[in-house]
Amino acid sequence: MRWIRQNVIGAIAILVLLYLFLPIAVVIIFSFNNPVGKYNLSWNEFSLDAWSQICGVPGVCSSFVTSIQIGLITTTFATILGTLIAFALVRYRFRGRSSTNLLIFMPMATPEIVMGSSLLALFLNLSFPLGAVTIMIAHIMFIISFVVVAVKARLQGMDPRLEEAARDLYASPYATFRYVTFPLVLPGIIGAALLGFSLSFDDFIISFFNAGTLVTFPIYIWGAAQRGIPPQVNALASLVFMSALLIVLSAQLVAWRKRRSLATR
């Protein structure tokens, strides 16, 4: 009885982690498969082909690069605009402020399929050529909302007395922003940018409507799924997962080393 009580939380935790990581494990494992036939669905034999010839299947790598490029550009614009909006909403009282506060949630609340299709209708009506630009316009639009929410939360949580203290200590308005406000809000901005990138990279529905003939990574996979997904896709997906893991781990490492250097000082 006691043994169960002491270990029940651990057991549940392991089950939940399994539930979370099993799909990822499957993706990684099958990147080392040498599939029989078109479908990479049952284990055949171990092979490094997918990794050594990661661009071996036409379209895989170019779509991957397209998605990365779109993600980077989108994130840059959305982060800058969203941060500026967040500052305006928190710091200034202006007419239309509360309605802006509400409207900024709209893209998050709208179903993607609705947003994707209405944007398509808009672009067609304007005879705007579909492609990378339309995808980026669409992505920036909905990622801004996430950035605003994240940065706003950070800004509102900041003690206004810190900026007053800076002003009291001879910091001009610019220096106050540069040395106090911005460094304190930066973690929120970085978090928002990472989230924004993964939302853009991952987006299928909105991109699909507005891509024209352009093939992003999610669109490629969707297309490939009809014909059988090559293990190269698994390899690329594993790469993405591992880069994310690397970012998290290095952040942890930096924090850990900081703590250690303090303890030994």
Binding site: D159, A165, L169, Y170, A171, V180, L184
Partner: protein
């Protein structure tokens, strides 16, 4: 500024300074001069406008009216970062993303001072934090954070240092220690300190001048001993220490003012009476009162004021004994007696006489009411017969 060169610090002067927040007048037409290099304590109940006053001096709040001068220079229009004034905030407001060294160096760096390293080193020595220079503020204790806040402000050698209840968050022992420390630093650097507190003992032990503030106005200002011994308003008498107040009517005036109350006569020097009319409140501090058994009344000097009553409570507090004595008209008088007398103390139920010198008596204007300046919760508790 090279070391060893004494600099000319100038007076801080507030002229008709007023701050209105909507309906509330947080600071009401304040005019004071704080002499250069002095330790000035601003004392008052919560919400009386102390922080607002400091913020206007620092430039963090625009006055609704009035001016702030340093020497002859009007600094009212200067922005916070242009004023030779620094603040130790009520909550310290240390920069959480910077370590202690960088927190202290902040002001120097913003002004582009050259020998940052030497100055910060010296300042950290002064506040005894040199060994913690690379810690973040969150890794320090309350007392250490407080010292960082003081160091961060003082390193800029401001003409005026504003301290907004910097010791409020500390426990009693650390508080006493910090008070001594602050006083030491002040005499070392010679900057004008304006110290806001609502700890009256702190204000009296540290300051050259105390100002008691109430509802946006200064009630009384002066040397701590003068303000304590001769309060000018009922608020000050009650807020700064404790007072026994008895309402009466003036019988004679002249060198000695005589007041009749409840069939008794009280005398005081005319110089200690501020009441303009016939109605006078007679006041005396508890420690000025001698408590004697009724049979020993003849031991009191003939000129002493006296009240007769019954002891209702005796509490021994170590240094002194506190007596509560009920008068025939139902008022409770409080008296402290040093525990240096030989012989028996009076006990509960004893008939006693309370005596004190006319020179320890003060006369106040009753207009504001006898409970002005008392803690509201205490007043309610005492007037409630059930309690």
């Amino acid at each position: 500024m090279p070391e060893g060169v004494s600099r000319i610090v100038e007076d801080l002067r507030l002229a008709n300074l007023t701050k209105q927040f909507g309906e509330t007048k947080a600071v009401d037409n304040l005019s004071i001069t704080i002499p250069a290099g002095s330790f000035f304590a601003l004392l008052g109940a919560s919400g009386c406008g102390k922080t607002t006053t400091l913020r206007m001096v620092a430039g963090l709040e625009d006055p609704s009216a009035g001016q702030v001068f340093i020497g002859d220079k009007d600094i009212t229009e200067l922005r916070a970062f242009q004023r030779p004034v620094n603040t130790v905030f009520q909550s310290y407001a240390l920069f959480p993303h910077l370590d202690i060294y960088e927190n202290v160096a902040f002001g120097l760096r913003r002004r582009g001072v050259k020998d940052v390293d030497a100055q910060v080193g010296r300042m950290l020595e002064l506040v005894e934090l040199a060994s913690l220079a690379r810690r973040k503020p969150s890794q320090l204790s309350g007392g250490q954070q407080q010292r960082v806040a003081v160091a961060r402000a003082l390193i800029n050698k401001p003409d005026v240092l504003l301290l907004d209840e910097p010791l409020g968050a500390l426990d009693l022992k650390l508080r006493r220690q910090m008070q001594i420390e602050l006083k030491r630093i002040q005499s070392e650097v010679g900057t004008t300190f304006v110290h806001v507190t609502h700890d009256q003992e702190e204000a009296m032990t540290m300051a050259d001048t105390v100002a008691v503030m109430n509802a946006g106005r200064i009630e009384q200002l002066g040397h701590p001993a003068d303000v304590y011994e001769t309060p000018h308003t009922i608020f000050v008498a009650n807020f700064l220490g404790q007072s026994n107040l008895i309402a009466g009517k003036k019988v004679t005036s002249g060198e000695i003012v005589e007041v009749a109350a409840f069939g008794l006569g009280f005398k005081m020097p005319a110089s200690r009476n501020v009441a303009p009319g016939m109605n006078i409140v007679v006041g005396v501090r508890p420690e000025k009162i001698t408590v004697l058994d009724l049979h020993d009344e003849d031991k009191l000097p003939a000129a002493h004021n006296r009240i007769f009553g019954v002891v209702t409570d005796v509490s021994y507090t170590g240094v002194s004994t506190q007596y509560l004595v009920e008068t025939p008209w139902g008022q409770t008088i409080i008296a402290f007696e040093q525990n240096s007398i030989v012989g028996d103390r009076c006990a509960v139920g004893d008939q006693v006489v309370l005596g004190w010198a006319p020179e320890h008596t003060f006369g106040l204007d009753p207009a504001e009411g006898l409970t002005s300046g008392l803690d509201k919760a205490v007043v309610e508790l005492e007037s409630d017969p059930e309690a």
